[in-house]
Symmetry: C2
Subunit: 168 residues, 2 copies
């Protein structure tokens, strides 16, 4: 994890953040939620920049779907929707697009004729390794200001944050 900042508790009000414009931001720079939101936006933009070089660019959410489908072949749309936290109706146009580009394929389920068994399509099998490499490049770039091993500690801290924000 990052440096054990030897300050007592509430982080400093901060006179001016990085790339600042001279405005007084008050308590904002001391808030985890504020740092989280700004980092999130920048990281998404960097992801898109890396993907722009690909033949079929995908969003972070779509990349997640491709990984999930490849590791859990035969998954149903409802199960996938639950796994990524969206309504099953929200998933339909997303899968439509991925299927249109051959990234995934909707097979008839052998056991339930209402259900679709999701698999990677031909383009998906060809491109997923390229997407994974692109994501690794992206991860290396966004973490380049961190010290070695700090990325893992950051993930651990974010998972703890998720837990603190989620659990009753």
């Amino acid at each position: 994890m990052p440096r054990p900042s030897r300050h007592s508790d509430m982080p400093s009000p901060d006179t001016a953040g990085p790339g600042s414009d001279g405005l007084d931001r008050g308590m904002l720079p001391g808030l985890v939620g504020y740092a989280l939101r700004r980092a999130q936006v920048a990281v998404f933009q960097d992801f898109a920049r890396e993907m722009a070089a690909m033949r079929v660019p995908v969003t972070p959410g779509e990349f997640g779907i491709l990984v999930l489908v490849s590791r859990n072949p035969g998954l149903s749309q409802t199960a996938l929707a639950r796994a990524i936290g969206v309504d099953r109706s929200t998933l339909v146009p997303i899968l439509d697009r991925l299927e249109r580009h051959g990234l995934i394929k909707r097979h008839p389920s052998p056991t339930d004729r209402r259900s679709h068994a999701l698999e990677l399509g031909a383009a998906g099998m060809a491109l997923l390794p390229l997407y994974e490499a692109a994501v690794r490049r992206h991860e290396r770039r966004i973490q380049r200001r961190l010290r070695a091993g700090e990325g893992g500690a950051l993930i651990a801290a974010l998972d703890l944050l998720l837990d603190g924000a989620t659990s009753r």
Copy 2:
């Protein structure tokens, strides 16, 4: 086709994340971007939950606007839009709502008759301290699984991430 990376790289693939559903998530749990997105969603929901108790609930973005306006009275809409990273046209309906609730006020600028000088409204002056207290409670809750001082380190790491993702 998930390929065994022969680099000594990413953290462990993770057998099952917290609150998992038995699905194999492959490399996802080892990605900072993935942890960031999930934490972000949970933290926003917790913010909304804290705000639900207030007379006039505000979003994280609206809270940021109130802080900015209170610390930089006389700010113009264009300057504010730039500070929070949205188009100035996007800001208009947001300020409309805040003004309707008396949280902010658009004064005529003394120096430029095209421009509005933003100030806190009467309700804004009364409520901002309550919002700030609510945000501190929210911050304390989401950080409750972290060790003492780790919140500051987390902010520092997120700021470094922002820098790595942003700079050319």
